[in-house]
């Protein structure tokens, strides 16, 4: 989920920065040695026990080195050439710390997909291979030699971009892999030298803090989700009980954690679109509740329920990390703490204004206007997520939310004005 949430239909005040980020990250490999004829992508997921590797090999290039006939029916290459391909790959991929005792290379799965590289034009078929590189007992997974010459043993100009997608202990957890090097033929010797993979030693602390940051980001990017929480808390403002507010927030986090764990263990898989729709519906429901309360003080359970839904969306990325059980527990903990921290921060800058206004005679009308606007936004999002196309409402909401900091400032000024008016009016009343 993480950065995928940026590209999905969720509104996001940081969305403006995302193209810049994307541009910067795509530029890294682009400026490197990438080729106009498509290159291979090698993605590494590193943990303390092994290195998981994903290869994305363009078929037009593989055809030149493996068998020209594969281009004829690319969709069924895995079915037609599976065993030969595995043997071919194993002959051209070796990893070792001690050359005499190479690592065990296990091809987990192979499938066909359509790849696209901006600098290579239209989409082309590519072979995706998932492998596990298993070191010998006691050997480091962060420093080893990778002897790789798939395709390029034959195609002289072919290159492979090597990137780290996940390195938990170094805080690299991303869907935009970090480019670390290029494997290609050396022009001096005209040979392909083994590539030295050497990542600095990471730590569980780094993994934990990066998961914390991820939790913060996750909530920060989900403006719809924040609107839900604020709307849910709105009726509770009248109670002026910080404890009650905290209870609701914590209930949400508990719900989130439960489904996150379930998801990581691979027990449930629900389509992302469905989850997004349910989230939008829940915003509408809580907005209606803010106008005419029908939760009847059961906000805690509603928050728990919503948390359960939201947690499902995130589990996929954690699965990709191939973490050991201790790291996984730390990840879930760090991630949830990040979510909690960010939620509290956002609530701290918004809810007080509502609490202040709740002391005035205007609270009902303000609350209803706010809830009415949130309902409209929610309806817009529901329509957007069902149809897959944005509409007037959702676009207007997205635009408006770009000014979130100013909206909060406006809310603050409004609350103070109303409070002042209310204060003087009550003075005036008492004088009478």
């Amino acid at each position: 989920m993480i950065l995928q949430s940026n590209t999905s239909s969720r509104p996001n005040i940081w969305r403006l920065l995302f193209p810049v980020f994307l541009f910067c990250t795509t530029l890294i490999p682009a400026i490197g040695l990438a080729h106009q004829s498509p290159n291979t992508n090698i993605l590494l997921d590193i943990n303390t026990k092994m290195v998981a590797m994903e290869l994305q090999i363009p078929i037009p290039e593989l055809a030149l080195s493996f068998d020209h006939n594969i281009s004829k029916s690319p969709a069924t290459i895995v079915e037609d050439y599976g065993d030969r391909l595995k043997a071919y790959l194993k002959a051209h991929i070796h990893a070792w710390v001690d050359k005499e005792n190479p690592w065990l290379i296990d091809i987990v799965s192979m499938n066909m997909d359509k790849g696209i590289q901006a600098f290579s034009g239209p989409p082309f078929w590519e072979l995706r291979v998932h492998l596990n590189l298993q070191p010998n007992q006691g050997e480091d997974t962060r420093k080893f030699m990778l002897d790789y010459d798939v395709v390029m043993h034959e195609v002289i100009n072919h290159t492979a971009l090597l990137s780290v997608r996940n390195d938990w202990e170094n805080g690299i957890i991303t869907d935009n892999p970090l480019a670390v090097g290029v494997i290609s033929r050396d022009m001096q010797t005209m040979t392909i030298k083994p590539f030295e993979v050497n990542f600095k030693k990471g730590s569980s602390w780094k993994g934990f803090t990066s998961m914390f940051r991820l939790g913060v980001e996750h909530i920060k990017n989900g403006t719809d989700h924040l609107l839900f929480i604020i709307t849910l808390l709105l009726p509770a403002c009248l109670l002026f009980s910080v404890r009650h507010l905290l209870k609701i927030i914590t209930a949400f986090t508990i719900g989130h954690s439960i489904t996150l764990l379930i998801g990581v263990l691979g027990l449930v898989k629900i389509p992302v679109q469905l989850i997004e729709i349910i989230i939008a519906v829940s915003i509408l429901v809580s907005a209606i509740n803010a106008i005419t309360p029908f939760f009847n003080g059961k906000e805690i359970f509603i928050a728990l329920g919503f948390g359960l839904i939201h947690g499902l969306a995130f589990s996929e990325t954690l699965q990709n990390l191939h973490l050991t059980s201790l790291d996984l527990a730390l990840s879930v903990l760090g991630f949830n703490l990040g979510i909690e921290a960010m939620q509290i921060a956002v609530i701290a800058v918004t809810i007080p204004w509502f609490i202040i206004m709740s002391k005035t005679r205007y609270f009902r009308i303000i609350k209803n206007i706010f809830a009415g606007m949130v309902s409209l936004a929610a309806i817009g999002w529901i329509a957007q997520r069902v149809t897959g196309n944005s509409n007037l409402l959702s676009e207007a909401t997205d635009k408006l939310l770009l000014f979130s900091p100013w909206l909060i400032l406006g809310l603050c000024l409004l609350s103070m004005t109303l409070f002042a008016i209310s204060f003087f009016l009550s003075r005036f009343d008492s004088l009478k």
């Binding site: 403006l16 682009a30 034009g121 239209p122 002289i156 100009n157 072919h158 204004w353």
Partner: protein, 373 residues
Amino acid sequence: MKQRLFLCILSAITITAIFIACKKNNSSGSSSTSTTTDTTTTTTTTDCSSSTGVAKVVCLANAFLATLTTTQQASVVQTLNLTNAKLWSNLPCGLSCRDGIAFSSLSSTQLAAAKAVIAAATSTTTDQGYDEFLKINTTDSLLYTVAGGSYGPGNYVICFLGTPSTTGKWMLQFGGHHYAGNVTFNAGAVVSITPSHQGVEPKSWTNANGTVITPLADEETAMANMLSSFTSTELGSAKISGSYSDCLMVPGSTTNTFPTTKVGIQVSQLSSTAQANVLLAMRRWVEDLDSASAAAFMTIYTNELASTYVSYASNTSGVSGSASSFFTTNTDYVRIDGPSIWIEFICQTGVVYPSQIHYHTVFRDHSRDYIGL
């Protein structure tokens, strides 16, 4: 009492909120935009017809600049340094982003003035130089019509690294998808005509006027004539192992390096006919430049001919004596690699027309690319 407490909390929170709001706004960095005022320079028609050679190129370059706004001039004239010099590519932002101003942002007067600069720096022969540039440009426009994307003639750029002058050093960069020209001038002379890239897809087509457009046909013919004039034994020595799916010195890469060892057959070991054909093949690239500079560079490359190598890959159907048996399929490749000259010519499966092959070529110079930078 309760109300006073409220007011205290209120003011504390306000300050915090304003602080946070301001900070957030700063970090987004998108709220403030700087505007620059465009001052349009009055267009004066400069007559450069009396000047010749580099003086004419410089005169036309200044005439082109005079048609531009100051903002446009700032995009065209960039600093002459190695980083900028390497920013040529067959894609606007493929391996690296091109410098300069896009043709699409120029008015017809400005575009005509830009093209006049290119015309003055290149050859006037049909299917060479400027004519070849225009034909590749119009072929890219066909690709754009068929496939869209970044191929369009509007994505062609022109850029000056350094200020055009007849005394100082400056570089003219121009090109688009299947064309990249880099010409360096110093003290009124052309000192480098590389790197250069040309390509074409489809390799032959007929335009609305019924004219058959084949910008790189004579380059292909020259290379095919060269290889077919080799004896079978010579072909055997020239053949190199492995396949090529692209040129080694691929356009747009800022990091690629020439192989240190020359491969294939040394030209001095070829028959005199074949040697002459190697020179003829080189001419198809070198003579894209204005005739005076082309002659000077041909002298250099001819003097180095004996220690130049020719190599080729794939071309499985290629046989001695038959020019048409060469360059027929994907990966058919040839290279001329001398002490200075480097030419690669390759057939690739079409990207927009996948049932046909299309050509990519790269012309470099071991010692004169990005000269002195």
